[in-house]
């Protein structure tokens, strides 16, 4: 099902490179000089307390915010990589059409109609293909949003808490698809608060606190020996303000 072309990265070049990333909105600095080099393929988890700037970072990586700084995927600067990206938002936006028509719209923009049925089957929505998308449950809507994102055959998949408040069945389907995409070479950048999920999926973890990256390490290292005080407090369940 997944057949992405590689990001054309060589081993010495980070898959994702962010340098001097600033986001100032309404006189406030929301992201303050982020620097990040991510060499690992697979799933990069972005974690942090509410308001840390996780979603802002993800939106910045997708070119949705007026940031200063340099963002590169496999050496290519951001605007150039946008056709290779797809994003799933925390609150899925679905057209006021049927499930299938939502998929067809994405296919008409940048995708393959031939994959629609396969993907709908993967997310267990083939039976509901002719139902209005906005009548689906929250979990079904999020699965549809993920299927629509995958239809565009992204090389970089950005996911903003796609499993927040979903039932275990929907979480399992979404996690399976994410792992399949990742195994097929798609670079996944995933925002989540769910520590269990992070342990299941993440190759590496980026930890944000108050708009700054306080830690970036492999998932194994992050969960066994977090080096920053903020990450230690977060994993210990303490309130970070």
């Amino acid at each position: 099902m997944f057949n992405p072309q590689p990001l054309a990265s060589n081993l010495n070049e980070p898959i994702l490179s962010v340098s001097g990333l600033y986001l100032n909105l309404g006189g406030q600095t929301l992201l303050s000089g982020l620097n990040l080099n991510c060499y690992e393929a697979g799933v990069t988890l972005v974690m942090g307390a509410n308001g840390a700037g996780k979603s802002l970072l993800l939106r910045s990586l997708h070119g949705l915010l007026p940031v200063e700084g340099d963002i590169r995927f496999a050496g290519r600067a951001l605007p150039e990589t946008l056709p290779d990206q797809a994003m799933v938002f925390q609150k899925p936006t679905l057209l006021r059409r049927t499930v299938r028509q939502n998929m067809e719209f994405a296919a008409s923009v940048d995708g393959s109609e031939a994959q629609i049925d396969t993907l709908l089957e993967e997310v267990h929505l083939k039976e509901k293909a002719d139902q209005p998308a906005r009548r689906l449950s929250g979990g079904e809507q999020q699965r549809l949003a993920l299927a629509r994102a995958l239809l565009t055959r992204p090389k970089i998949l950005l996911l903003d808490e796609p499993t927040a408040s979903l039932d275990p069945g929907s979480v399992m389907i979404i996690e399976r698809l994410i792992l399949e995409a990742s195994s097929a070479g798609v670079k996944v950048i995933f925002v989540s608060h769910d520590i269990g999920q992070a342990k299941r999926l993440a190759a590496d973890v980026v930890f944000l606190h108050q708009g700054a990256i306080t830690e970036h390490s492999t998932a194994q290292h992050f969960f066994s020996k977090p080096s920053s005080r903020e990450a230690q407090a977060y994993l210990a369940g303490e309130l970070l303000i």
Partner: protein, 233 residues
């Protein structure tokens, strides 16, 4: 006297009075033509205003909203000045023709439909903007998507425009002249017949106008209910 006029009005309608139905037909023809032209202008305009960013956008929206409240007689006067023999378009010889009435109605209802469409589209744009940006859909390509997805709400705007057009009297009487068998429509005929004391025809036309208003409102409610049932609103 009122009862007599009313029963005469009912018999005029029931007997299919030729004059009455000629007036009715012309009214509907003029208003539907004006509506068709206005829809083609107003819906894309309202959508573009909602989804695009340009200098002076607020000024355009303010003007559009102000035009909604423009007195019809003023529109009639402006069209009259444009189309009269000494006006810039006088050479076309359109004054006192149904075309002049269509022009006046287009000017009257286009701001109404565009303004209502703009409000609908602005709400939809808040919802869809990031998705379209994420999928890299060009502004030009999003317009038909917005129009289609808001169709149930837009029908309300279109029917409101039709209701306004068909019930308009001030502008059409100035540019149409209320000429028998040529530019006499329901509203201008009602005004004339009432002035003459011929209440039967005026009442018959009034009954039909009220009936049309009820039908339009019923249509609006049905369309919205249908959209809600299908979760498309």
């Amino acid at each position: 006297m009122l009862t007599d006029a009313f029963s005469e009005a009912v018999s005029l309608i029931a007997s299919g009075n030729e004059d009455l139905f000629e007036i009715l037909l012309l009214s509907v023809e003029v208003s539907l033509t004006a509506l068709s032209i206005s829809v083609l202008l107003a819906l894309p305009l309202g959508t573009l205003l909602a989804i695009s960013h340009f200098a002076g956008k607020r000024v355009v929206i303010t003007c559009l909203n102000a035009l909604m409240a423009m007195p019809p007689v003023v529109i009639g006067l402006l069209v009259y000045l444009m189309l009269s023999r000494s006006g810039p378009l006088g050479v076309l010889g359109l004054l006192y023709t149904p075309t002049a009435m269509v022009i006046a109605q287009v000017l009257l209802i286009t701001p109404i439909i565009a303004s209502l469409a703009h409000q609908t589209m602005e709400d939809l744009h808040v919802e869809y903007a990031e998705l379209f940006q994420s999928l890299r859909v060009s502004t030009f390509r999003t317009i038909p998507v917005y129009l289609w997805d808001a169709r149930y709400s837009l029908v309300t705007a279109v029917l409101a425009g039709f209701g306004r057009a068909v019930s308009e009297v001030g502008a059409v009487i100035i540019v149409g002249g209320n000429i028998d068998h040529l530019t006499r429509v329901m509203t201008t005929a009602i005004a004339l017949e009432t002035a003459k004391g011929e209440l039967a025809l005026a009442l018959a036309l009034g009954i039909i106008l009220v009936g049309m208003a009820l039908l339009v409102n019923a249509a609006v409610m049905s369309v919205r209910a249908l959209g809600q049932r299908r979760a498309y609103v």
